[in-house]
C-alpha cells in the first residue's frame, strides 16, 4: 500500500484556558513502527493523538509527518487516518457507504467507491456485511468497519484512540493479535492510545508512558519493563515495588537507601540529586523464606495472599515499606505456604533492585 511516515513531535504543548494538558513534549516515532501512548486517564495521551490527527489545535510546537510539517493542515491532508474510540460509524449509512465515505467526499464515482469499499471490507473480513447498518453489528464487527474506513484513505500513519476498550476481554486479545498482524502487513506507522499496560506490552515497538501531560519514558517494551525510568513508570507498569527513601550511602555503581521506617536497601545505579531516591525491586524476583543478604530484603507481615494459578501474589508490610508485592511461583509457594499475618523474610538478588530517575531532576 502506501509508504509509512515517521512522526516527529517537537516540543508540542496544548493549553486549555489556564490548564495545560500537554507540556512541551518531544517524541520521534520511527516510520513503520507500532507506538503505544500509555498512561492513566487525563494524562494527555488522547490529546496528543488528537493533535497528531489534527482534531485538536496545537498551542505551541510543531508536528512533522515524514518530511511535511502538518501543524496547521486539516486532518484529511495530513496523511493520517483516525479510528475513534466509539468507532464513530455513521448510523444512517450502511457498512459499505461508511467505508466509502472519504471517497464520496473526494467525488469518486459511485461504482468505483463501491468496489474499493468492498475490497477494503474483504481485507477486514467484513465484505459479507456490506449492506448492514452499524447498529446491526457487534462491537468487534463495528471495530473492523471503523478500521476499514480509516484505511481506505491510504494513510501513512493510522491513529487509534483506545480501539479495544469497548470489546470484551476475549475479543480484546484476539483483535489485538489482528491489529499487530495488520500493521505488519501494511507496514504503516500505528499510534495506539491505551491505558492497558498489557495491551501496550503485547503490541508496541515503542511504548510512550505519559503522566500529567509529560512523557515519563519512551522506549522499547523490554526497556520499559526491565529498566523503568521513573517511579511513576515502575508503579504504572505494576511489575516493580517502588521504595522511596533518603540516600544513606553511595558506592561505586550502587546506592543504599534508608526508608523512614528504618530499613536500608541497596540498589544498582547512580544516585539522583537531592538526597532522596526511589528504587525499584522486581516483584517476580522476590524470594520467600530465605534469610536476606544485608540491604537485599526484609522481614514483613503478610497482609494478603492472592492465588493466580501459575503464581501467587503476596502483599506484605514491614521495615517501613507498605504494600510490598511479591509474585512467587505456585511450586515455591505451596512447598512452604504462608498465611495472612505471618512474618516472613523476603529476599532478592543485587541485580533485581535498581535506582529510578526523577523527571524534574
Amino acid at each position: 500500500m502506501s509508504k509509512a511516515a515517521a512522526i516527529d513531535i517537537a516540543s508540542v504543548s496544548k493549553v486549555y484556558g489556564t490548564m495545560t494538558a500537554v507540556h512541551a513534549i518531544s517524541l520521534k516515532i520511527p516510520a513503520g513502527s507500532y507506538c503505544c501512548l500509555l498512561g492513566p486517564s487525563g494524562c494527555g495521551k488522547s490529546t496528543t493523538l488528537r493533535m497528531i490527527a489534527g482534531h485538536e489545535r496545537i498551542s505551541s510546537g510543531d508536528i512533522r509527518l515524514g518530511n511535511t510539517v502538518v501543524t496547521d493542515l486539516p486532518p484529511a491532508r495530513r496523511g493520517t487516518a483516525m479510528m475513534f474510540q466509539s468507532y464513530a460509524l455513521f448510523p444512517h449509512l450502511d457498512v459499505a457507504d461508511n467505508v466509502a465515505f472519504s471517497l464520496k467526499m473526494k467525488g469518486v464515482s459511485k461504482e468505483e467507491r463501491r468496489t474499493r469499499a468492498l475490497d477494503m471490507l474483504k481485507l477486514v473480513q467484513m465484505d459479507a456485511y456490506a449492506g448492514r447498518r452499524p447498529a446491526q453489528l457487534s462491537g468487534g464487527q463495528q471495530q473492523r468497519v471503523a478500521l476499514a474506513r480509516a484505511l481506505i484513505t491510504d494513510p501513512e500513519a493510522l491513529l487509534l484512540d483506545e480501539p479495544l476498550s469497548a470489546l470484551d476481554p476475549f475479543l480484546k486479545v484476539r483483535v489485538r493479535a489482528e491489529l499487530k498482524k495488520l500493521q505488519n502487513e501494511l507496514g504503516i506507522t500505528f499510534v495506539h492510545v491505551t491505558h492497558s499496560q498489557e495491551e501496550a506490552m503485547a503490541l508496541a515497538d515503542l511504548i510512550v508512558v505519559m503522566n500529567e501531560g509529560r512523557i515519563e519514558q519512551a522506549a522499547h517494551p523490554r526497556t520499559i519493563f526491565e529498566r523503568p525510568a521513573t517511579a511513576f513508570v515502575a508503579r504504572f507498569m505494576g511489575d516493580h515495588n517502588v521504595i522511596s527513601g533518603r540516600v544513606a550511602d553511595v558506592r561505586d555503581g550502587a546506592v543504599t537507601v534508608e526508608v523512614a521506617g528504618g530499613g536500608r536497601f541497596d540498589a544498582l545505579g547512580r544516585p539522583p540529586e537531592g538526597g532522596q531516591a526511589d528504587i525499584a525491586v522486581r516483584t517476580d524476583r522476590v524470594r520467600l523464606g530465605e534469610a536476606p543478604a544485608p540491604g537485599l530484603g526484609f522481614t514483613g507481615i503478610v497482609t494478603n495472599v492472592e492465588y493466580r494459578g501459575a503464581s501467587v501474589k503476596l502483599t506484605a508490610s514491614g521495615a517501613g515499606i507498605e504494600d510490598f508485592t511479591a509474585i512467587v511461583g505456585d511450586g515455591a509457594f505451596f512447598a512452604r505456604p504462608v498465611t495472612v499475618g505471618e512474618a516472613v523474610p523476603f529476599a532478592w538478588g543485587a541485580e533485581d533492585a535498581i535506582v529510578l530517575g526523577r523527571l524534574d531532576s
Partner: protein
C-alpha cells in the same frame, strides 16, 4: 423440621391462592392502564366519535335532526368555495412549513453546535420562548403598530425615502398571516430539531472531517440526515397547527383570507353544526394522511 411437617397441609390450598394472585395481577395491569384510557376515551375518542356522528345528521336554521344523510359531505366536497379554502390553507401550511423549517434548523444548529456552554444554551433557548410569555392575541395585535399603514416599518421606509406612499401589503394580507404564523410556530420546529442535533455524537463530525469532508459536506452528509427525525416531528407540529388555525388568519388578514378552521367557525356561528362537523372530519382525515405521509418518509421512532 417444622417446615417439613407443615408443607403437605399448605400445598392443597396453593393452587386456589395462586389463581387468585394471577387474576389480581391481571386486574392490576388493567387498573394501571385505566386512568389514561379513561382520559383518552372521554376527552379524545368520544368527542371525535360525536363529531363523526353529528356530521351525518340533518339540520335546518333552528335545530338538528339525528339522521344518516350524506348531504353535509356532498355540500362540503361539492362546493368550489371549500376547495379554494382548503387550497388556501394548504398554501399557508406549505409556506409556513418551509420558512419555519429553514429558520428553525439554523437556530437549532447555532444553539447545538456553536454555543459552547450548556448554561448559555439554556439561556438562549429561553430567549426563544419569550414570545410565548404573552397570549397569542396580544402577540398578533402587537404586529399592527409595526406593520400598519402608519406603522413603524412604513414610517421608516418613507423616512429613508425608499417608498413615497405606505406599503399596503404589510398588514391585512397573506404576507401578514404568514409572518405571524412563522413568528408563532418557529419554536415548535426549533425544539425537536435542537433535540436531535444534541444527540449527534460529536465524534461523527470529527470522523467526517477526518475523511476529508468540508463544512458543507459535513452538513449535507452527516448533520442533515441525522436531524431528519427532529425535522419530521417539527413538521408534524407546524403543519397540524397551521391547518387548524383560524384566529391568526382572521386577525392578520383582516378577514380577507379564509382557512378551513375559519370556515368551520363561521358554519358554527350560523348553527350549521353538521356541516361544520363534516368539514372537521374531512380536515382530520387530510391532516392524518399528511402525518402518515411524513412518518412513511422519516423514521421518528428513535426520538420517542
Amino acid at each position: 423440621m417444622a417446615i417439613a411437617v407443615e408443607q403437605p397441609a399448605a400445598s392443597p390450598a396453593r393452587p386456589a391462592g395462586a389463581r387468585l394472585v394471577s387474576v389480581l395481577g391481571r386486574l392490576a395491569a388493567y387498573l394501571q392502564a385505566a386512568p389514561l384510557a379513561l382520559i383518552l376515551g372521554v376527552f379524545l375518542l368520544a368527542p371525535i366519535l360525536m363529531i363523526v356522528a353529528v356530521s351525518f345528521w340533518d339540520y335546518d336554521f333552528a335545530r338538528l335532526y339525528p339522521d344518516f344523510v350524506l348531504t353535509n359531505y356532498a355540500e362540503t366536497l361539492g362546493s368550489w368555495v371549500t376547495w379554494r379554502t382548503y387550497l388556501n390553507t394548504l398554501k399557508y401550511a406549505a409556506i409556513v412549513w418551509a420558512l419555519t423549517l429553514f429558520i428553525g434548523f439554523w437556530v437549532a444548529y447555532f444553539l447545538a453546535f456553536h454555543v459552547r456552554t450548556a448554561t448559555m444554551q439554556m439561556v438562549l433557548f429561553l430567549v426563544c420562548t419569550v414570545p410565548f410569555l404573552t397570549s397569542n392575541i396580544i402577540r398578533m395585535i402587537s404586529w399592527i403598530p409595526v406593520l400598519g399603514r402608519n406603522g413603524l416599518v412604513n414610517a421608516t421606509l418613507i423616512e429613508m425615502g425608499l417608498v413615497s406612499t405606505p406599503v399596503e401589503w404589510l398588514l391585512y394580507s397573506d404576507f401578514a398571516v404568514v409572518l405571524a404564523m412563522v413568528h408563532l410556530y418557529t419554536l415548535f420546529m426549533v425544539t425537536p430539531i435542537f433535540n436531535t442535533l444534541m444527540r449527534i455524537d460529536r465524534a461523527l463530525i470529527e470522523a467526517a472531517r477526518d475523511a476529508g469532508a468540508n463544512g458543507w459536506q459535513v452538513l449535507s452528509n452527516v448533520v442533515l440526515p441525522l436531524a431528519k427525525p427532529g425535522m419530521a416531528i417539527g413538521t408534524i407540529f407546524v403543519v397540524t397547527l397551521v391547518m387548524a388555525d383560524f384566529i391568526t388568519v382572521q386577525v392578520m388578514s383582516g378577514g380577507q383570507s379564509a382557512s378551513v378552521a375559519l370556515m368551520m367557525r363561521n358554519q358554527m356561528s350560523l348553527l350549521q353544526y353538521p356541516a361544520a362537523a363534516a368539514n372537521a372530519v374531512v380536515l382530520l382525515v387530510l391532516v392524518l394522511l399528511m402525518v402518515a405521509g411524513i412518518l412513511r418518509v422519516v423514521d421518528i421512532r428513535k426520538e420517542l
